[in-house]
Symmetry: C2
Subunit: 191 residues, 2 copies
C-alpha cells in the first residue's frame, strides 16, 4: 500500500526563502500602521514608495492538531522607518505555552522576544544560527542588514496566533539604528 495518504512537501529556496509551489502571505507597510515608533516617517514611506513589502511568509495546509507541526519560511526585507528597522508584526501564540524554532538561512538581524510578565530577550540571527523562542514569548524578527532576512520556522500546528496584544500594547523594546549601529531602546509608545 504505497503513497495512499497525501504527503506534505514544499520547496523553499535556501537563499531567498521563496517557494515555487506555494503562495506566500504578504505584509506591506500599510498593514503595520502604528507599529513603528515614528508615525510621520511611516506615513511618508507608505505614500512615497508605494507601500513597500516589509515581509512575507508561508502558511501551509497542515492539520492544526497538537501533534502536527506547522513550518515554512519568513522573509523580512531590508528597510527602515525613521531609523527603526523593518520587522514582522510579532505575535504571541494563542496557546501561550507553545514555543517555536527559527533557523536563519540568510541575512542579518534579531529575534526580539517578550513574555506577558515583562521579561524580554533578544538573539542574533545570522546564516546557520538557530534561535529557540520558548513558550510564553511573543516573537518578532528584525532585519538590520542590506539583504533579506530569511528564516525557516516550525511550531505546534494548533498553537494559533495572537496578533492583537502586540497591535494594542506594542512591544516594550524596539531596535533602531543609532550612529550606524542597531540599538535596543524602550518603546516610547508602549502601553
Amino acid at each position: 500500500m504505497a503513497l495512499n495518504t497525501e504527503s506534505v512537501v514544499a520547496d523553499f529556496n535556501l537563499l531567498t526563502g521563496l517557494s515555487k509551489s506555494k503562495e506566500s502571505t504578504k505584509r506591506n507597510l500599510s498593514r503595520m500602521k502604528g507599529m513603528f515608533h515614528d508615525d510621520l516617517s511611516f506615513d511618508e514611506l507608505v505614500n512615497s514608495e508605494s507601500d513597500p513589502l516589509v515581509y512575507e511568509f508561508y502558511e501551509l495546509d497542515i492539520p492544526q492538531t497538537a501533534g502536527d507541526i506547522l513550518f515554512g519560511t519568513s522573509i523580512v526585507y531590508p528597510g527602515k522607518v525613521g531609523g527603526e528597522y523593518f520587522m514582522t508584526k510579532g505575535h504571541f501564540h494563542t496557546i501561550l505555552e507553545t514555543g517555536e524554532v527559527y533557523y536563519c538561512l540568510s541575512g542579518d538581524g534579531y529575534m526580539l522576544m517578550e513574555n506577558p510578565e515583562g521579561d524580554w530577550k533578544i538573539e542574533k540571527f545570522e546564516p546557520g544560527q538557530a534561535v529557540y523562542v520558548p513558550p510564553r514569548y511573543a516573537h518578532r524578527s528584525i532585519n538590520i542588514g542590506e539583504q533579506p532576512l530569511v528564516t525557516f520556522f516550525a511550531f505546534r500546528a494548533d498553537a494559533g496566533h495572537d496578533y492583537g496584544t502586540i497591535e494594542t500594547k506594542g512591544y516594550r523594546k524596539l531596535v533602531i539604528e543609532k550612529d550606524g549601529k542597531p540599538e535596543v531602546i524602550d518603546n516610547p509608545k508602549w502601553k
Copy 2:
C-alpha cells in the same frame, strides 16, 4: 528585566550541518547490525573500513514538554552496504500521534516512511526541499548521493523515540542501488 531566562541558540553550518558549539550523537556502522539487508557486506565493511560513521545528529537541551520544540540537524554520510545506501536507523515517536518536519540543507536522498497499519511513502530530499512526516509514521533518512545528506528537523519535544520496533521488525521497504539508480524494494528480512 532583560535576558533573565536562558535562551537556547545553536549554530548549524548550512552546508555541513555541523555545530561548533554543540556535541553531536554519532552512529557508526557497528551500531546498526541487522538493519541492512546484506549481513555479509555489513560485516566486511565494519571490519575492513574501521567502522565508518554512518550518521550523526544533535539533541539539544530543551525541556521535553508538549509545548516545546526539539530541533537540530541530521547528517547522513555517503556510502553503501551491499548496494543499500547509508541511512539512519529510523524510528517511530513514542507519542505516535506526533509529526516532524525535515528541511534539506544539502545533499541528495529520501525520507522513507511507514505507519503501523502498513502504509508507506517515500519523498525526495534535495537542497531547499521540506518533507513533512505526518503523525504515526516511522521515518528514516537515506543518502543516495556522493555528499553528506544534511537536514534540519523539528518536532514536539515530548514525542520521544521508539527505535525498538524498527530494530525488531525492520522496515517494509528498503532502497538499494540497481543499475546505478535507487530502487525501492520489499525488505526480504521484514517480519
